[in-house]
């Protein structure tokens, strides 16, 4: 009888095997939580001395003993548990998973920054891993010197850098300042130079953490393009970890979904992402996107809190392109019969102001209210493409007088192309444009 397992075995025949460049077998990684040592020799000596006199451990926290007996030796946390997969040459593979799913641990082990507890990884070809750009950059060294230092840290030989120097400098666009110490660089220039080195690594396997989420949007696109080239044209294998699903979709053909340290699913990107979205809620537990503001007596009216929510009122900072989204604001009015308007400027990718909204158009919405705290729910545009958005400004103003209270560059949120299907190519973020246009056709 042929089980699915049998079929898998058949596929991995000889021809198949030779294409595998990374093979991960039963990889596990445990972290010790319990007290192994106190971290300092003096405390350990104190502890030892206390034990010698028959006293209790001076560094044992109250309740700790009880917890231990209940948990029963659970002071080992498995960050990765029996993870196995194979990656073939030329593949661009995305690794997705929620915080704590083991993505970073997996990346660290493949990058050899830390060792696994058990299991093994076998590989073919040189590996370059980018858990960060610009590792080892020294502020006192010039751009050129840092290219060499960073390049060799990432595993290049000096000769290789000699050959690629012009290309790297050209890609970074900092030619004029290449002999200036990098401490004088703007942060943008610094990142561009650092990324340029990384983009020119001469390796067969490239491991990339979310370092792409740096620099300005234009440079980010340039880097993405370079990475895509690496896998499709140069036959390099790219392993990419991100929680920006849009990016994964653009870059990766295949995907591995980690959940609680185990491989939850793997396969074509679209399928895996679909499954990923179906598991678990996306509510942000940390409420990172909630802004609370203390009361300020000088202001006749002010915003006290701001957050982004979905249709069910759940706090979020990541939405599907087609999902309804709202801005919730609490406004405190301290003067009776104050007439003011609410406004926001929405911007995309730190570049373009997408729209500026003011609620003064509709006379009925002009706020003339009594003292008190009022809660607003303001719907946000849904006809905009995927990307990173934030509010250039949110505030209260009095017509013809100006702003009373304004908050600038707040509430960043992402729109992702989760619920996308290929037939909507005009809506895709890959095409130019900011808004989604759903023009209707009348054919005569």
């Amino acid at each position: 009888m042929s089980t699915p397992f049998d079929r898998n075995l058949k596929i991995s025949g000889k021809f198949h095997m030779s294409k595998v460049v990374i093979k991960v077998e039963h990889l596990s990684k445990a972290y010790q939580l319990g007290e192994i040592g106190t971290g300092t020799i003096s405390r350990d000596l104190e502890r030892w001395f206390a034990k010698l006199r028959g006293k209790e451990d001076p560094y044992m926290k109250l309740g700790e003993t009880n917890d231990r007996t209940i948990k029963g030796g659970s002071d080992v946390v498995w960050s990765l548990k029996d993870v196995s997969f194979e990656i073939e040459k030329g593949d661009a593979v995305g690794i997705i998973g929620r915080n704590g799913a083991g993505k970073s641990t997996l990346l660290k082990i493949i990058s050899r920054v830390t060792a696994p507890t058990s299991g093994r990884i076998s590989g073919k070809g040189r590996v370059a891993s980018l858990l960060e750009v610009g590792t080892g950059f020294h502020p006192e060294l010039t751009g050129r010197e840092n290219i060499y230092l960073n390049g060799t840290i990432l595993g290049m030989r000096k000769r290789e850098i000699d050959r690629k120097l012009d290309e790297i400098v050209e890609f970074s666009g900092v030619l004029r300042y290449i002999d200036t110490p990098v401490k004088r660089y703007s942060s943008g220039m610094y990142v561009r130079l650092a990324f340029a080195v990384a983009a020119h690594l001469n390796s067969e396997i490239l491991i990339v953490d979310e370092v792409l989420a740096v620099g300005d949007a234009q440079f980010q696109r340039k880097c993405l393009g370079k990475m895509q080239d690496a896998s499709t044209n140069e036959g390099k294998t790219v392993l990419f970890v991100s929680h920006q699903l849009g990016m994964i979709q653009t870059l990766c053909k295949r995907c591995i979904h980690l959940e609680a340290g185990m491989v939850h699913a793997q396969g074509p990107t679209a399928d895996v992402i679909k499954g990923y979205l179906e598991t678990g809620a996306k509510v942000d537990e940390k409420d990172m996107n909630d802004i609370l503001i203390d009361s300020d007596l000088d202001k006749p009216a002010q915003i006290r809190s701001l957050r982004l929510v979905d249709a069910e009122g759940r706090s979020k900072n990541e939405f599907d392109v087609f999902e309804k989204r709202y801005l919730e604001a609490e406004v405190e009015v301290k003067t009776d019969r104050l007439s003011f308007i609410f406004y926001y400027y929405l911007k995309k990718n730190e570049e373009i102001i997408v729209c500026s909204h003011e609620n003064d158009r509709d006379a009925s919405r002009l706020d003339i209210r009594k003292k008190g705290i009022y809660k607003y729910r303001i719907s946000l545009p849904v006809n905009i493409k995927a990307g990173t958005y934030s509010f250039a400004s949110i505030g209260l103003g009095i017509p013809n007088q100006g702003a009373i209270h304004a908050l600038e560059n707040v509430l960043e949120f992402n729109l992702e192309e989760y619920s996308f299907d290929g037939s909507l190519s005009g809506y895709s973020n890959k095409r130019p444009g900011v808004i989604l246009s759903d023009s209707e056709y009348a054919v005569f």
Partner: protein
């Protein structure tokens, strides 16, 4: 089947796999790190390389005054400044290698947490970087020696044993490296050990023949001083450059064996700690 792959990552690794070939492959990085250290030091201090001279010079002056003048320590018939300068220069190199290597994990935690390269490169680069400082201090020492030979016609006579100098550098470097790596591995577990190191190195100096010659040590404590591997190194250095010290081949042999054992032990323990050190910081 395994021959298809050219690298493996496993949970356990052989203790004796020192990955020296890999270190060799990364030799360019070693050189660039040395260069970085030098440039950074040169640019960051106001006095720049002049600082390299001031430190041993001041120490020599103070030692001459305190131990030579006030204490009346014997110096084997060698002019006091030369005697102390020889001790200070060599000791400083060893001590610098030791203290800097002992904090290598702490100082480089950021880089180690982000990129893999053979970790041994870092302590090696420290030992080589310090060579630059040692070199400039040696020039100062040689100038002093020249002055005493030509103008003062003192009875110090450099001899054939000067040829052992390169070997002495190697011994100091490897001993500092080995001890430093052992301590660095221990400081990942015990952070406060790092304070003990600075203090310990200071104390150790007095158990070495930096401020007194071995010949003045009486038989009661002589064995302690001789058990210190740096003693033979400094005595040999003084014997070769200044012509009078308690040099013996057996002493030098002892230091060599001691250094070798410490070094192998250091590399093994360093490689073991290096694999999971990132998890503990």
């Amino acid at each position: 089947m395994d021959s298809h792959y050219d690298w493996h990552i496993e949970g356990k690794s052989s203790l004796l796999d020192l990955k020296l070939k890999e270190v060799w492959d990364y030799r360019d990085l070693l050189w660039l790190l040395v260069r970085r250290d030098f440039v950074a030091f040169y640019k960051q201090t106001i006095l720049g390389p002049a600082w390299f001279f001031i430190q041993p010079l001041m120490t020599t002056i103070i030692f001459t005054f305190v131990f030579g003048r006030l204490g009346g320590f014997k110096t084997d018939g060698i002019p006091q400044p030369l005697f102390y300068m020889a001790g200070v220069t060599t000791w400083n190199y060893f001590a610098d290698c030791l203290t800097k290597t002992s904090t290598v994990f702490k100082d480089n935690a950021h880089i180690f947490g982000k990129v893999y390269f053979p970790r041994l490169i870092m302590p090696l680069s420290i030992v080589v970087s310090n060579l630059v400082k040692f070199g400039t201090q040696m020039i100062l020492f040689l100038c002093m020696l020249g002055y005493y030979l030509i103008f003062r016609r003192e009875e110090c006579s450099p001899n054939m044993y000067i040829l052992l100098f390169p070997y002495l550098i190697l011994l100091m470097a490897l001993l500092g490296l080995g001890l430093g790596m052992i301590i660095s591995a221990m400081t990942t577990k015990y952070r406060d050990l790092a304070f003990l190191v600075t203090f310990g190195v200071q104390l150790l100096m007095y158990a070495t023949t930096v401020v007194y010659p071995l010949s003045t040590a009486d038989s009661g404590i002589r064995w302690i001083i001789e058990a210190n591997p740096m003693t033979a190194v400094i005595e040999t250095f003084r014997y070769g450059f200044l012509g009078n010290a308690s040099f013996s081949w057996s002493g030098l042999g002892y230091s060599s064996i001691f250094t070798f054992i410490v070094l192998v032990f250091g590399v093994v323990i360093f490689n073991k700690v290096e694999r999971t050190f990132v998890d503990t910081v």
